[in-house]
């Protein structure tokens, strides 16, 4: 009988499972603790992670690599493309669902037999970089000239200092294999019904469009406030109003950085104004990201703030009716700024084939990889490749090119600290519910930031 009840004493299985994992690592960690306390002379707390004698040509011998990842596409497709170019290399793929990825990759990369390559995850890096479990890629940056082949904005968030307390500076630990960014998808048909014939060019025009749609009785936005959809709306407003340097410093943990700025307050107040005006639906806090997507594709709303990773799905459901633009700024000539990230790959410091792993990383910026990246719904790393695309794809590519050229791709706000997402989601829910003051929302974010970086 007890077995029957354990199912409902909810977290028991989960907790026990987690505990088992912890204890397993615990045994190892305790051993390390004992060892380090004996060996007082040992200074480093992990293996050496700076490769020597790097080479840009790889062996002809058969090589087998393992690659741990979560995002598919593009991981399998990129690996296939790479092994086509290097037939002597075989890559064993190990996929983990996204919700479990942070913990799995952390444990795997710090184990005795880590995968050679792993999909980058900022949360996991906070322990893996200081533990020297991932390769410092600087020697390869120089050897391959990656600063030329990868867009600078896409490399910046993949740099970190040795303690991984500050990002955007220091050595490079991963390179992007596919790029993504946040923007506004719109329903062309609903906009035309409301008399809006072209995507808004300024923020004032955007608000006019919201008003026009609302006057037609159509909900302006679908917002997945239950998950990340809520703070993504705030995110785009912040990118639009704020200074991108200030914002980058804050996300990367630069000393003295703050989110309590006038621009952030303006962004936050705009969001609450939209809630009061009814542009953001009342039920947003109970809507998951998938539900919001479904509502938008079902023609229930005119706009959806989400990344281009959703483009594939949206285009499939809506065809020609879906379009994409970046939240326009107050000044139509200002350089566009939007949050973006990448599916990136990092190399284990324990790999026996660092040169082969680096060759895979280098392949990601190739024109061949660019084709795969765009076919799987991402922005290609090599932005010079001309792709014959139409519809929403052309709009996305166009916008990304413009933003990337002007260095306008900034990281997402939840990268600022590991616990930031647990401030952002409830915080924006409070704004939508009208229970949280705008200034309180920002000061809560800042105190979480200071707890981690202060």
């Amino acid at each position: 009988m007890p077995g029957r009840y354990t199912r409902f004493t909810a977290p028991e299985p989960a907790r026990r499972h987690a505990l088992r994992a912890f204890t397993r690592v615990g045994a190892g960690a305790t051993a390390v603790l004992v060892l380090t306390s004996c060996a007082t002379l040992s200074t480093g707390d992990g293996p050496d992670n700076v490769p020597e004698d790097v080479s840009t040509s790889i062996t002809d011998e058969p090589v087998e690599l393992t690659l741990a990842y979560t995002d598919d596409p593009p991981s399998t497709e990129l690996v296939e493309g790479f092994t086509e170019q290097y037939p002597n290399v075989t890559v064993e793929l190990q996929q983990t669902p996204f919700t479990d990825y942070v913990k799995t990759v952390t444990l795997a990369m710090s184990s005795d037999e880590p995968p050679d390559i792993a999909q980058y995850n900022p949360g996991a890096m906070r322990s893996l970089i200081p533990g020297r479990h991932v390769l410092d890629l600087e020697p390869y940056v120089e050897a391959y000239g990656w600063e030329e082949t990868f867009p600078e904005a896409s490399l910046e968030p993949l740099r970190a200092d040795e303690d991984a307390t500050r990002f955007g500076t220091g050595s490079l630990y991963a390179v992007p294999g596919a790029l993504s960014m946040l923007g506004v998808f719109y329903n062309r048909e609903l906009l035309e019904e409301a008399g809006v014939t072209r995507p808004p060019g300024t923020f004032a025009e955007f608000e006019e469009a919201l008003d026009a749609v609302d006057a037609e009785g159509t909900t302006a936005f679908s917002v997945g406030g239950l998950e990340v959809g809520g703070f993504q709306v705030w995110n785009t407003l912040l990118n639009t109003f704020g200074d991108d340097r200030e914002y980058r410093d804050w996300v990367h943990g630069a000393p003295e950085a703050s989110i309590e700025t006038d621009a952030a307050l303006e962004a936050t107040e705009t969001l609450t104004r939209w809630v009061e005006a009814g542009y953001v639906p009342e039920g947003a806090n109970a809507t998951s990201d998938d539900d919001a997507k479904a509502a938008f594709t079902g023609g229930e709303s005119a706009f959806l703030v989400i990344g281009n990773w959703a483009a594939f799905e949206l285009e499939e459901a809506m065809g020609e009716d879906v379009g994409f633009f970046l939240m326009p700024g107050e000044d139509p000539d200002a350089a566009p700024v939007t949050s973006g990230s990448s599916v990136s790959y990092t190399v284990s410091s324990a790999t026996e084939h660092p040169d082969v792993a680096a060759a895979f990383l280098d392949y990601l910026a190739s024109p061949e990889a660019a084709l795969i990246q765009s076919e799987t719904g991402f922005m290609p790393v090599d932005t010079d490749v001309s792709l014959e695309q139409d519809g929403v794809w052309a709009e996305i590519n166009d916008v990304y090119g413009t933003a990337a050229e002007q260095d306008g791709i900034v990281p997402f706000p939840d990268f600022a600290t590991p616990g930031m997402i647990d401030q952002l989601t409830p915080g924006v829910q409070g704004l939508i519910a009208g229970s949280t003051e705008e200034t309180t929302f920002l000061s809560d974010l800042q105190s979480e930031w200071e707890r981690h970086h202060g």
Binding site: F8, R16, G26, R126, E282, G283, N285, A286
Partner: protein, 312 residues
Amino acid sequence: MASGALSARGTGTGAGRGGGRPSGPPGRSRARAWLYLLPALVVYVGFAIYSAAGTVWFSLLDWDGVRPPTWAGAANYVRVLTDPLLAEAILNGLTLIVFFSFVPIAVGLLLTGLLLGRVRTGMTFFRTVFFLPQVLPLVAVGITWRWLYSDGGMVNRMLESVGLGALTRAWLGDYHFALIALGLIGTWCMSGLCMVLFMSGAQRIDPALNEAAAIDGAGPLRRFWYVTLPGLRREIGIAAVITTIAALASFDLVFVTTNGGPAGQTNVPALLVYRLAFNEGSIGGASALAVVLTLIVIVLVSAIRFLTREDR
């Protein structure tokens, strides 16, 4: 064997107290008992005791799960106990006890009273229907209820159809009603469990008691109050313990329906344990919070056991 039993009885040691079953000399019998217990014991110690002790040990460390841990002493406890989030989460957990425990026990008793002795055919049907929520995975339950409670969901449509359209809202996203809405899912899940427990308990009550009461002129209500209810003391105790633990330790249901939202209104301690461990990478903090949660559960369960003890 027979002589063994005789000698055991003859020496008057406690070994034979089990009720006339043959047993060897006390020493060997005890050893054999341990042998039989061993497999279960190994599993229990290995997976329950050892992990629990591990949690206590981790709660004293500052550890991210990867790098070598450092000694933290009571720092993790200070942190979780001074975090206002925890107080709110515990308060929410206690509120959930009303919906996971009090209401289901009341509903279970009511159903028992209604079904007992009246329904002769189709009892299995009722039992299955009411017990069904216990069999469904909670994640599926949570997702289904998220739909029922949504803007255009069934709950709101029913309200509209009876002219209460003004009340409709996305219940799980409502700042004031989210916790209650969540609690009612728990009520739905637990009521059937309570009913099945009480039904089996009530069927064990000596029918002579009921007959005697009936002869003395007691109506159905009085018989329920003076015969059935006291006879169910033990089952009520068990139901209260199970459901209270479910309320305080609830995780999966909250995780899939509200994830603590909106704005932290449905945060529960187990959710904070998860976030500390897996989002913030603070194994020590998460373990400390888990230990605190366990202590709260133990205190409450002990109180329930004391109140429902048999020999009062």
